[in-house]
């Protein structure tokens, strides 16, 4: 078992929460984990990425080699494309469709979509609409995690337990909300 996952998004979109959930689930599945993240200046509305590696063997590098990622999980469509040099030939992109437009020269979303389709295997998730359906836009990232969850290599139950563990101190309502978001994403992935 060996998975290399690039998490991508814009500072403040919650990719580190996704990372924390997968990390914990992997550890509780008896796997080894390495997860490199970006702190500091780039967090201010800039592009952020995290390299997440899970394996039943020893993991040496904190960074995923170019061309070796099994999955790019992006919470923003253009950001998914920024990391395609890491994507393996058979790799998969799971991305949300809603652009985060904080720059003047943001490209045409339709061109972004075509470019993602050109990479090969991809799944588009309208996480924004789903989050609004649930009634909390902040569940955006957890919906994306749910949508990508069949491709992470970890049992669904372990991921659910991690969501519970990480949101527990914020109250049962938030645990339930995020589990609902997770299942919403998962459901979409299964269809």
């Amino acid at each position: 078992m060996h998975k290399n996952i690039i998490l991508a998004g814009v500072g403040g979109q919650g990719i580190l929460t996704i990372a924390a959930i997968i990390d914990l689930a992997a550890m509780n599945s008896g796997l080894k984990v390495k997860q490199a993240e970006v702190h500091g200046m780039s967090q201010r509305g800039g592009a952020v990425e995290s390299h997440l590696r899970i394996s039943d063997e020893i993991i040496y590098s904190d960074l995923i080699p170019l061309g070796a990622a099994d999955l790019i999980l992006s919470v923003e469509p253009m950001e998914a494309l920024r990391y395609v040099p890491f994507l393996s030939s058979q790799g998969l992109i799971v991305t949300s469709t809603e652009p985060f437009e904080n720059i003047a020269n943001y490209p045409d979303p339709q061109n972004i979509r075509s470019a993602i389709e050109n990479t090969g295997r991809c799944v588009f998730v309208d996480a924004g609409s789903l989050a609004r359906e649930i009634g909390n836009v902040k569940t955006y990232n957890i919906i994306m995690l749910g949508a990508a969850s069949p491709h992470i290599g970890i049992a669904k139950e372990r991921l659910e337990e991690s969501i519970e563990a990480l949101f527990r101190r914020k109250g049962k309502a938030l645990v339930d909300l995020n589990l609902k978001a997770f299942h919403k994403g998962l459901e979409l992935a299964m269809n």
Binding site: V33, K34, S42, R44, A47, V84, P85, N102, I103
Partner: protein, 530 residues
């Protein structure tokens, strides 16, 4: 034993608590900040009353840590690489005094300058000061290295430098904890000659430091972090610190069998280096940072046996990666996908509603009517004033340089001479420069963009909050020329008028542009709700 997922920085913090520190001293700086933050919120550290408030700068932090060591207790001091420049005087001289209680200095380097002004390699400082230096490769080793470093510090009676880099500090892995140790009892130093560095004493201490080097080499030769991957072959790799991970990654995925000598402790383990180099005709030196030991091993007459960053086998600058190491090991590069051209850069930006935005708006509008538009700025979120739409600053060099460079430019005749500095950077290294300006009556204006926090590193306490006016007044800035403005869009014309008045004043003026960071405001609101 207890295992948990920790950032490299957090593993270091946990190890220090478990090693029985009585205090941590630090000024925030990426990628070192999380070490101190972990100790500040850790329940065990609180139960043990580990002192952990932020220091004003790295020099005050270092000296306080040394004082704690003098008193017989263990102390940790941490900083980013450029912070060691600020603390360098204390650091170098602490090698001459030596320590009483264990003193460990953790310095986090930032190769590739993800969040820094240079990529200096702190191992050079380790050599410069003749101090034992440890460079862990993994998060577990970071934990073990700090425990070991405290014991070693008390054994050899010297500070021990632990050098990490961004990738180790900001990467998470599973770390196993060892049994915690009790804190030291108060046992102040009794040997005055050791600590009073008058020339007569210092000469004795310096000789002793040089004599200790033999012992340090033998410690490196027995280092628990030294490892040899044995196999036969003409070609071998000496891998230092985190570079070892990338080498092993390539060997693992490519199923290569190449002998590797892993080094994580300095001065160099002479015996193992000698043996390894004699066994192989060609040796790749893989170092994260400067080619410090490659240069040393090549020697002045450039032994061609070695390759590395100096001959282009590895790039001369920037951090290493599995792909860079693979290329140096002659592994063919696979076809790599190319980023589509439509992908636009997304640089960091000042937050929406940030006070620095309104300060820069007012500054740009005011300066529009001046011939010379030169703004000396400094290190913090407000450095982003360099980018569009503001393009408002002309320099960012080192902590505090805005004030002193504006002074020098004013001395040269530049009018107006303007400095823009944040509140935390001002207390870190701006106050002394302002005193210079006051003593010289230099015609200049210092804008302290005061958001009441150390924002860029995540909102740590700022040493001068609510006291900046009094500090400036105390230094001798005339009260009439210490002006306070509130940077908000509705105040812009009033604020521009204030700026113009002070730019036109022929002396030292300070403008406090004061409004709390919107990130900390948001966090406080959230905490209140919860």
């Amino acid at each position: 034993m207890n295992t948990q997922l920790l950032l490299g920085a957090e593993a270091i913090a946990l190890a220090a608590i478990d090693a029985g520190i009585s205090g941590v001293y630090a000024y925030p700086g990426t990628p070192s900040t999380e070490i101190t933050e972990f100790i500040q919120r850790d329940a065990n550290a609180q139960a043990r009353s580990v002192r952990s408030n932020w220091s004003v700068n790295e020099k005050t932090a270092y000296e306080a840590a040394l004082g704690m060591s003098y008193a017989g207790k263990r102390s940790l001091v941490c900083m980013k690489h450029v912070g060691l420049n600020v603390a360098a005087d204390a650091f170098i001289n602490s090698a001459i005094t030596g320590v009483n209680g264990g003193l460990v200095v953790v310095v986090a380097d930032d190769p590739s300058m993800h969040s820094s002004q240079n990529e200096q390699d702190s191992r050079v400082y380790g050599k410069f000061a003749f101090l034992p230096t440890i460079e862990p490769s993994t998060q577990q080793e970071a934990y073990d290295a700090v425990r070991y470093a405290f014991d070693t510090s008390e054994q050899v009676k010297l500070p021990v430098l632990v050098r990490i880099t961004t990738r180790l500090s900001h990467s998470r892995a599973i770390v196993a904890q060892d049994t915690p140790k009790k804190q030291n009892e108060l046992a102040p130093e009794t040997d005055k000659k050791k600590w009073i560095l008058l020339p007569a004493n210092a000469r004795v201490r310096y000789s002793r430091l040089l004599e200790t080097q033999t012992q340090l080499v033998s410690l490196s030769e027995q280092s628990p972090f030294l490892q040899t991957i044995d196999c036969t072959g003409d070609f071998g790799v000496v891998a230092f610190g985190i570079a070892f991970n990338y080498v092993m990654e390539v060997l693992q995925t490519e199923r290569l069998r190449i002998p590797v000598l892993k080094i994580s402790q300095y001065p160099l383990p002479e015996r193992q280096i000698r043996e390894f180099v004699q066994l192989h005709n060609r040796v790749l030196i893989a170092e994260e940072g400067y080619p410090v030991y490659e240069e040393l091993l090549r020697g002045y007459f450039d032994n061609k046996k070695f390759s590395g960053r100096l001959d282009g086998a590895l790039p001369r600058t920037g951090e290493l990666s599995p792909n860079r190491i693979a290329a140096a090991l002659g592994v063919a590069t696979p076809d790599i996908r190319v980023i589509p051209e439509i992908v636009a850069n997304r640089p960091p930006e000042l937050c929406k509603g940030c006070s620095h935005r309104d300060m820069y708006e007012a500054l740009n509008r005011t300066l529009a009517s001046y011939e010379h538009k030169h703004v000396f700025s400094d290190i913090g979120c407000y450095t982003l004033g360099a980018l569009p739409p503001f393009n408002a600053i002309n320099s960012c060099v080192d902590m505090g340089a805005s004030v002193t460079m504006a002074k020098g430019a004013a001395d040269a005749g530049l009018r107006p001479a303007i400095a823009v500095i944040g509140d935390s950077t001002f207390t870190h290294s701006g106050i002394t420069g302002l005193l210079d300006a006051v003593n010289d009556r230099s015609p200049m204006t210092v804008i302290i963009s005061d958001n009441a926090t150390t924002a860029m590193t995540g909102g740590q306490d700022s040493a001068g909050t609510n006291r900046l006016y009094d500090i400036c007044k105390g230094i001798g800035v005339e009260e009439r020329h210490i002006r306070t403005i509130v940077p908000l869009p509705k105040n812009i014309s009033d604020n521009c008028a204030v700026l113009r008045e002070e730019f036109d004043y022929d002396g030292v003026s300070v403008i406090l542009a004061t409004r709390e960071c919107i990130q900390t405001v948001g966090r406080k609101k959230k905490q209140k709700k919860a």
